[in-house]
Symmetry: C2
Subunit: 191 residues, 2 copies
């Protein structure tokens, strides 16, 4: 692409600027894909290692002193969290593979990645939604269905869930940007 730019140097400014844009576009793609990879990896790890043990005093009989019983909160206790970790791991793996393959400059690469990126957007956002919904219940509880909040006990656990959702949300937004950028590039090519 650089050679083409040099060859076209001079009166063909339109061609040159489009060529330069394409080069800039490629770098933006690689950077965004790397960001998506890192963010989903971080989200997977932050929730995937989430565990908190808390000693809770439980009063069995009024005449006896309260028993101190350790209670554990683990990430895989809730199916939404499992879904979140799996979806982020899939998106992370896809980001890594597509990052490597994007150096090969295959034909139709832009179209194929756009389509797969949209699927990642769908996968990640459903995981984010599910985990955020459970997180809100954990923080606030819901009196109508008598689900009590649990984050007053497992504060660290809940904060880690919130951090994972924030990371994954940023990763999902990067995937949206990748789709938009690919669409813009296809549009510019079609002109």
């Amino acid at each position: 692409m650089d050679i083409q730019n040099k060859v076209n140097h001079g009166p063909m400014d339109g061609v040159e600027s489009r060529g330069a844009k394409d080069g800039g576009g490629r770098t933006s793609f690689l950077l965004l894909r790397l960001m998506a990879l890192l963010l989903t990896l971080a989200a997977t790890i932050v929730l995937g290692v989430n565990k908190q043990t808390k000693v809770v005093p439980i009063q069995l009989l009024d005449s006896l002193p309260p028993l101190n019983i350790p209670v554990v909160a683990k990430w895989h206790y809730l199916s939404s969290f499992v879904f979140f970790v799996v979806s982020n791991a899939i998106a992370c793996t896809y980001a890594a593979v597509s990052l490597l393959l994007s150096f090969s400059r295959k034909k139709r690469w832009l179209l194929v990645t756009l389509i797969l990126d949209v699927l990642m957007v769908a996968l990640l956002f459903s995981g984010n939604g599910a985990t955020a919904a459970i997180g809100v219940l954990g923080y606030k509880g819901n009196s109508h269905v008598r689900w009590n909040r649990v984050c007053n006990v497992f504060g660290k656990f809940c904060n880690q869930v919130a951090a994972a959702v924030a990371l994954s949300l940023l990763g999902s937004i990067v995937f949206i940007l990748l789709v938009m950028l690919a669409a813009l590039r296809l549009h510019n090519k079609s002109k």
Copy 2:
């Protein structure tokens, strides 16, 4: 486009078939957009009118007969359900507006709708994820956090939630198809 096809009739089969594909593409876009509109509208209504009143016998004292108390389940008791209804209503409105505007054949229309369709995919899938997560809790409960299942009492309510999620999921898949179709069309134009 039809005139162009007629002009190019004869040896230029490639051009003709591409023109015919574009015409077919337009109809597919309109049909898919109409489907997205109807599915998200149905999902909004099915969850938005969801309400169930159940008379539950509650034993206050052993010496007294149980009191029959009516308990109500409403869709807006859970923030995830509110988010679901709002996101489906937004997607439905957008589908209606974009369906009307798509007749005007504006420049860059394909690119603009692709970008907005991706945002709808993100919005709808987060709503689906959140509502499905709460739905699973309602059906199964979770012993680790002591959230009891409620769908044994509010069966009709839960089934209606499941139906709304299924409708919205179909609507979201239609939006994904719209993005893919637009990307394919931009790609074909760019060749």
